[in-house]
């Protein structure tokens, strides 16, 4: 059924596209490359994706490879687990990370356990992709960033691209991986544009953070949309003569602590930023590791900024107050810098 071909490209060629388009291109290329790859989820086909990430793919690859499901997250995430165990390469889309909670049993008790619990006799190369994030008055049940819950579970891999190039590269790496990978996308990032490598063989390796802005006074560690916020703050701080380095984690499990620690060893100060709640969160993990790995390098306590620890309210002013906005990140940076 597959007639799609991927146009050969000049080595190193890039094109400006949105994060959403980069994800779509990644799936298009992987669907064309490997018959075992198929997409499954709510509204991914006829409706062209709740957030239009899969737009056009059902037309191109047919309803068997871009499979609409009923609203049954536990059922179809589990079906992804089973299909993966038999050698398929399912990409399961969950409309938002909030809805992944109803499939938690399949993710944590099943997908994450297959490799170890069965002694390596069978593997589960499943991809689950889902956006998190807040900021559109979607309120308490639809605004969460829960990736830390998943990243705390051995047996899973969790990646969280912060720009279009990594959206493509990490999703492709996830599809080609032999283990269950959760790809945490982000609603505000879907429209962000950036240069994206066109080489169908280009992947972003899992487990490698990236210094996305170099600096010498302070290291800001972030992932997903918090990287955008941190880069904005770093730009503002530069105008005051403060040089902030920004590390994009890209991958939460495995976690590239080496790159973070090397940065902190240069700057001697660290600020961790996330869109989720900090308690028991990604920033809690990063701060603990910096505290141990960089004890002798630190000139100030590691600081953290995250979502205010309340269920996100509807009213625009309350929502804005709760989110980890530039002002709070900037204030935290000054605190770490004693300025």
């Amino acid at each position: 059924m597959t007639t799609a071909t991927v146009t050969p490209t000049t080595p190193g060629a890039t094109e400006v596209m949105t994060y959403r388009e980069a994800l779509r291109l990644a799936m298009r290329e992987e669907l064309a490359r490997d018959e075992r790859v198929f997409i499954m989820g709510e509204e991914v086909g006829l409706f062209e994706g709740s957030y239009k990430v899969t737009a056009g793919l059902m037309d191109e690859f047919g309803p068997d490879r871009v499979r609409d499901t009923p609203i049954s997250e536990e059922g179809f995430v589990g079906a992804g687990v089973g299909a993966a165990m038999l050698g398929e390469r399912p990409i399961v889309e969950i409309m938002t990370i909030n809805f992944l909670l109803v499939a938690m049993d399949q993710v944590i008790n099943h997908a994450a356990k297959v490799g170890a619990m069965f002694g390596g006799e069978v593997r589960c190369p499943l991809v689950i992709r889902t956006p998190g994030g807040a900021g559109n008055q979607l309120t308490a049940q639809h605004s969460q960033s829960l990736e830390g819950w998943f990243a705390s579970t051995p047996g899973l891999k969790v990646v969280a691209p912060a720009n279009p190039a990594d959206a493509k590269g990490l999703l492709k790496a996830a599809v080609r991986d032999e283990d269950p990978v959760l790809v945490v996308e982000n609603l505000p990032l879907y429209k962000q544009k950036g240069e994206v490598p066109l080489d169908p063989e280009h992947v972003t390796p899992i487990g490698r953070a990236q210094v996305v802005r170099e600096g010498s006074d302070l290291t800001i560690v972030a992932h997903s949309y918090a990287v955008t916020r941190s880069l904005e703050v770093a730009g503002q701080l530069a105008e005051e003569g403060i040089s902030a380095e920004v590390v994009d984690l890209r991958s939460l499990r495995p976690l590239d602590v080496e790159t973070v620690a090397a940065s902190v060893a240069r700057t001697n100060r660290a600020l961790c930023v996330e869109e989720g709640w900090p308690s028991y969160g990604v920033t809690a993990e990063i701060a603990a590791r910096i505290g141990k790995a960089c004890f002798d390098d630190l000139d100030a306590p590691v600081e953290r900024v995250g979502m205010a620890e309340v269920p996100l309210p509807y009213a625009k002013n309350l929502e804005l107050a709760a989110m980890p906005g530039s002002e709070r990140i900037t204030a935290a940076a000054r605190s770490v810098l004693n300025r």
Partner: protein, 357 residues
């Protein structure tokens, strides 16, 4: 297949019945020994026995073709044995030894043998249903004509995963038979106290799926129904629900005496129509001698004794490989930058212990 031909004529050939009887006896003897070994602290964790359910287990597995797939819940010793996993590999797994079928990583609830199409023993009630549904989806995608049997207990039908899986299987015409082993109790809660519709097979109708109930202690009835429903699944991609009504003699697990929620009289009454006795009578009626039947018992005893000896001699898994198998070989490189700042001991226990290799 000889079995199929004979069943069409209404009777199992004596040699086939004899073989199935032998499997049933092996299962019973194995479970009895497992309880003994549990009490001797050779087996830890949970240990769910299936004594009394042998006709269902052996009958359904006999209906599977070699390439068909099997998924079960946690009461899976009998299914593993019936599917041909050696008593040695099963007992070694129960003992937590490296020669176990899951290399000591799974234990009693997580037996498997992928080479025999047995994709696990799963421990969360109804969690195996979506997984089995996905296996059936993969069979279709791969153009294979085989089917999946997904075993579940009577307690699982009140879980959301049950409804979601049946709906997907029916909607997508998947080759799967959901086998409800109704042993009348989900832990200590009887079907009547748990299910508003106690005829569990009727729930298939909500998804316009075929459902039926058999006497799970009647080997022939189980075999006939399983073969027929599996054939429909393979040939016409017709999913189905088969409810086999049986009884477990022991408690929910070895830790449960099984008497808080049912009477000794009830157990005794059910034991009086023991499926093993029923098949033994049939064999006797067919002219099998008492000596031959005693040979079956003796062979089962010997095999289980050998399994215990094997398990006892099998080495414990190597602690220096604690993290092996969790991630696919080749993943070590992805994790190599995760070491700094790890919790105390993590590097030795995980990163240096087979992580991603």
């Amino acid at each position: 297949m000889a079995v199929a031909h004979a069943a069409e004529e209404g009777a199992l050939p004596v040699d086939v019945r004899m073989r199935l009887y032998e499997e049933m006896v092996l299962s019973r003897v194995f479970e009895t020994e497992a309880e003994r070994q549990y009490k001797a602290a050779k087996i830890g964790g949970y240990c769910h026995l299936s004594s009394g359910q042998e006709a269902t287990t052996v009958g359904v597995v006999e209906a599977l073709e070699p390439d068909d797939l099997l998924v079960t819940g946690y009461r899976c010793h009998g299914f593993a044995l019936a599917r041909g996993v050696s008593p040695e590999a099963v007992m070694a797994e129960l003992f937590g030894r490296s020669d176990g079928c899951a290399h000591g990583r799974g234990g009693s609830m997580h037996l498997l043998d992928v080479g025999r199409g047995f994709y696990g023993g799963w421990g969360i009630v109804a969690g195996q249903l979506p997984v089995a549904t996905g296996l059936a989806l993969a069979l279709v995608r791969q153009g294979r004509s085989q089917a999946v049997v997904c075993e579940l207990g009577d307690g699982a039908v009140n879980m959301g995963a049950w409804h979601e899986s049946l709906n997907l299987a029916a909607l997508w015409h998947l080759p799967i038979v959901f086998l409800i082993v109704n042993n009348e109790y989900g832990m200590g809660t009887s079907v009547g106290r748990a299910s508003a519709e106690p005829e569990l097979w009727r729930r298939a109708g909500a998804h316009r799926m075929h459902g039926e109930r058999v006497d799970g202690d009647d080997l022939d009835a189980v075999l006939e129904a399983s073969r027929r429903l599996l054939q429909g699944a393979r040939d016409e991609r017709r999913p189905a629900v088969l409810e086999a009504v049986t009884y477990r003699y022991r408690g929910h697990s070895v830790a449960d005496a099984g008497l808080a929620y049912r009477t000794r009289e009830e157990i005794a009454e059910r034991r009086s129509s023991d499926p093993l006795v029923r098949v033994r009578e049939q064999l006797r009626d067919a002219g099998v001698s008492e000596a031959e039947l005693e040979d079956v018992d003796r062979r089962a005893d010997e095999r289980v004794r050998a399994a215990v000896e094997f398990a006892d001699a099998s080495p414990e898994p190597d602690v220096s490989r604690l993290a092996a198998a969790m991630y696919a070989p080749g993943s070590a490189e992805q994790f190599e930058r995760m070491r700094p700042g790890s919790a105390f001991g993590e590097e030795q226990l995980v990163f240096d212990a087979g992580l991603g290799s």
